[in-house]
């Protein structure tokens, strides 16, 4: 099981849950299940989300495996210069 923390802007779209527990082995599975459980999250998941696993930011690599016990955050996709 993965406990994922949502950024504040997503909380109202997930029944006001700040953290959500999901059975997922990869980022792709995590995001799919989050979207199924909270359809309002589907929009942001499509193009606004980056996923942080144990402190490392993943913007695109949805095949990345989520280790057991990893700390997982959803963060807004960042702009860079």
């Amino acid at each position: 099981m993965v406990e994922v923390t949502l950024w504040a802007g997503l909380v109202p779209l997930a029944d006001d849950q700040k953290t959500v527990t999901v059975e997922a082995e990869t980022i792709r599975e995590l995001l799919r299940k989050l979207g199924e459980r909270y359809p309002a999250l589907s929009g942001p998941i499509k193009d606004q989300v980056a996923v942080v696993i144990d402190g490392v930011v993943y913007r695109n690599d949805w095949s990345q495996r989520i280790p057991e016990g990893a700390e997982v955050f959803l963060m807004r996709r960042l702009a860079g210069g």
């Binding site: 802007g9 109202p12 980056a50 930011v57 690599d61 955050f73 807004r76 960042l78 860079g80 210069g81």
Partner: protein
């Protein structure tokens, strides 16, 4: 295809050396072709009509007289760029910024454009366009825009991130919050508290090359765009979306780039040039003047920031809080949120809270500027850290070392850090000779830390082994700082051949798969990973070709030092085959030899730096001179150390300008008063000392060679390091950037009055 991006220790031959860059000679001899250097037969010249008002409703535009002028081939307004954005707010902001639709939102906002046979005709035509404006009240200051009685720019903006949802529109587009613990309890436990408000003024990236492009729409629906950009694939997508073009029919070629720093990460005039070309049926060149670059491209935010930090007598911080207000121009974005995320990221804090307010104002649309939003937040926090060190009576570096984040620290923006490099940069600063060098009269020393998120992204490259054994490398990330040299070194390292035998080019959008742009410090990080992968794929092909040449199983062939070698003693008589020998036979062993790579290069890892600065302030004029400057930063592995140092020095140089002089100055009428390099003063060589650098190499575990992005972090600490140095030199805390001579004199006079 699988690619192991994990770090493996290497003994490097090419990586870490300093050969000349392949584009260097062309650049210093004037042969390199930038955005404005491309021309096509029958090309027209475009000019843009811009609003002279900070905020105005466009009642009517009459282009008839301009269209009737001899030599005018097309005139476009927003009517020629219909809204195809389908509810995508970010894309609509880009569209509306390219050409105002119902309102001009800032001084310089485009309202119409002309394509004519020459510049004189185009300029004359602009004067014939009649625009009727209904002037609206404007606001340019971030704090003023947040007031309840401020003129509201957009009555569809209701602050998000607050509960309950507001019932009236305002200029505060979003409130974001980060942190953990209980800051009130943290401040209650503090022996010392520092609390201060800071301001930073709006600055421009100051790239030397203005935005420039040549657009050509053909009658069959295909189009070409030659353009100065940080990301030609992104520009292709922007233009295709905004003009309703098929992506495959728009070919975008990136020119050499005379600086971008985040300012060339989305389109500004390119859709207008394409719309003009589509209407005129001829190629159109559109080049911004310097005045237009200042008035109508994307500077960074102006900010207003409050910081409160409390600590025990021993220096341990017990609570930290920041409220950050950032301008975003007329269109909401995430600039304040980035400031709120980065402000305390250097530190291990039990109780921390940051709140960001995104504020729309009648200024140009804000664009990314090198570690966007982080320098202003660092200025405020690192200034307060210095003041706290003085108050407690501890050394400024020691205070930071004592509170520095490390592996396992819960960051102020949420996640727990893995292995990070702030500690080593601080320790390097502690022991650096610069920290203990004597200071002269009117001189002061300051230091500061900085943080930035680096990122990777979608990346694609092709590596072709030519028949003579030389290698062509095609990459899709625009070279903004010497990456063709760095990537050639990477290819040489993997293949085991000479750097001189590699020719790297930036491929256009029709000849290579999609690449994200060069931003987020990702150019060398991402494309080096793709280059390593492509080279390894090419080596697999060459091993197979060697197997055919020798007529032995490919599994018995390994690659070493640029040669295919037969394993074991049974092939003892076989001399190793070089790349040249294998390539020479390629026509008879299966045809051309190539390696291709498409990947997501993720796992860039966060980045930290520490800067030390000495200044001398003239107490009579308030003028500040940078006496000595040192940048310390972790590069993971410096592929081409000279260009890593160049990034460090460039970031510091831009930060010096930002800290001391650069500033958008608006009149009461909301018009920009200083849209030119004479009145908007960026540093020149004579303003700068040689900037010293120290490269730390702590391998990135998520890159085969340990490489980290280095481009953005160097601009994060300078504002604070210089402010601390100036404050220490004059004995007055400077809390408003830029610290221009009048501002320093005013602070000195105020202090003298008590």
């Amino acid at each position: 295809m699988s690619f192991d991006a994990g770090y493996q220790s290497h003994k490097f031959k090419s990586v870490g050396t300093r050969p000349l860059r392949p584009d260097g000679v062309d650049k210093v001899t004037g042969r390199a072709r930038y955005g404005a250097d491309f021309n096509m037969p029958g090309q027209l010249v475009a000019r843009v009509l811009r609003s002279p008002h900070a905020h105005a409703r466009i009642v009517r535009i009459d282009t008839a007289k301009a269209e009737a002028l001899k030599g005018v081939k097309a005139v476009v307004t927003a009517a020629d760029l219909p809204d195809l954005t389908n509810g995508d707010g970010a894309l609509f902001a880009i569209l509306d910024n390219c050409m105002a639709r119902t309102k001009a939102m800032y001084d310089g906002h485009a309202v119409a454009a002309v394509a004519a046979i020459d510049e004189n005709v185009a300029k004359a035509a602009l004067k014939l366009i009649e625009v009727e404006y209904e002037l609206l009240p404007h606001v340019v200051d971030v704090d003023a825009a947040m007031q309840a009685d401020a003129p509201v720019l957009n009555d569809t903006i209701f602050t998000t991130g607050v509960d309950p949802k507001p019932e009236t529109p305002s200029n505060i587009a979003n409130r974001s919050e980060f942190g953990h613990g209980d800051v009130d309890a943290g401040f209650a436990a503090a022996d010392f508290i520092v609390e201060r408000s800071y301001k930073t003024e709006q600055t421009h990236q100051g790239y030397i090359e203005p935005h420039a492009c040549v657009a050509n729409c053909n009658s069959d629906g295909s189009a070409d765009l030659w353009v100065c950009t940080q990301g030609h694939f992104v520009y292709r997508q922007n233009c295709a979306d905004l003009l309703g073009l098929e992506v495959s029919k728009l070919r975008v070629t990136s020119s050499e780039i005379g600086g971008g720093f985040g300012g060339k990460t989305h389109v500004w005039t390119e859709p207008v040039a394409l719309a003009l070309s589509r209407k005129a049926g001829r190629p159109v060149k559109l080049v911004m003047s310097r005045e237009e670059v200042f008035r109508a491209s994307g500077p960074t935010s102006a900010t207003s920031i409050d910081v409160k930090i409390g600590a025990r007598k021993d220096g341990k911080i017990t609570g930290a809080m920041a409220t950050l207000r950032y301008t975003s121009g007329p269109y909401p974005d995430m600039w304040a949120e980035l400031g709120a995320m980065t402000s305390f990221a250097c530190y291990d804090l039990e109780n921390v809270k940051t709140v960001g307010f995104e504020v729309v104002v009648n200024r140009p649309k804000v664009a990314a500027y090198r570690a966007p939003s982080a320098p202003m937040a660092a200025f405020a926090v690192e200034s307060a850290m210095d003041e706290l060190a003085h108050k407690i009576g501890v050394n400024a570096v020691d205070l930071r070392v004592m509170n520095a984040a490390s592996e396992g620290t819960k960051s102020s923006y949420g996640p727990v850090y893995g292995p990070i490099g702030i500690g080593p940069t601080l320790e390097a600063a502690q022991s650096h000779p610069h920290m203990s060098a004597p200071l002269g009269k009117n001189q002061g020393r300051g230091m500061a830390c900085g943080f930035w998120f680096n990122f990777g992204g979608q990346t694609c490259s092709d590596l072709n082994v030519n028949a003579d054994g030389t290698v062509g490398l095609a990459v899709g990330t625009v070279d903004v700082g010497g990456s063709r040299a760095s990537l050639s070194l990477i290819a040489a390292e993997e293949l085991g051949i000479d750097y001189q035998d590699i020719k790297a080019v930036i491929a256009d959008t029709a000849t290579l798969g999609y690449n994200d742009m060069t931003d987020g410090s990702r150019g060398t990080f991402s494309s080096s990973m793709a280059t390593i992968s492509a080279a390894r794929n090419a080596i697999d092909v060459m091993r197979a070709r060697a197997a055919l040449m020798w007529d032995i199983p490919v599994d018995d062939i390994y690659w070493e030092e640029g040669h295919a070698k037969a394993a074991g003693s049974k092939y003892g008589n076989l001399s190793p085959l070089s790349v040249k020998e294998i390539a020479a036979e390629s026509g008879n062993t299966g045809g051309p030899i190539a390696g291709h790579s498409e990947m997501i290069a993720d796992g860039a890892g966060v980045s930290f730096g520490t800067h030390i600065c000495d200044v001398e302030v003239d107490p009579e004029t308030g003028s500040t001179r940078i006496v000595r400057y040192t940048v310390i930063q972790d590069a993971g592995k410096a592929v081409h150390p000279s260009y890593v140092e160049g990034q460090y020095q460039g970031g510091a140089a831009q930060g010096i300008g930002w800290a001391l002089n650069e500033e958008y100055v608006y009149g009461d009428d909301g018009r920009l008063q200083n849209p030119g390099f004479l009145d908007y003063r960026i540093p020149v060589c004579s303003d700068l000392p040689m900037i010293d650098t120290q490269i730390l190499e702590i391998p990135n575990p998520n890159h085969p060679y340990g490489v980290r992005g280095v481009g953005e972090t160097p601009i994060v600490p300078p504002l604070a390091a210089i402010a601390n140095a100036v404050s220490n030199a004059v004995g007055v805390r400077m809390s408003h950037i830029p610290m221009s001579p009048p501002r320093i004199l005013a602070a000195l006079n105020d202090a003298a009055k008590g």
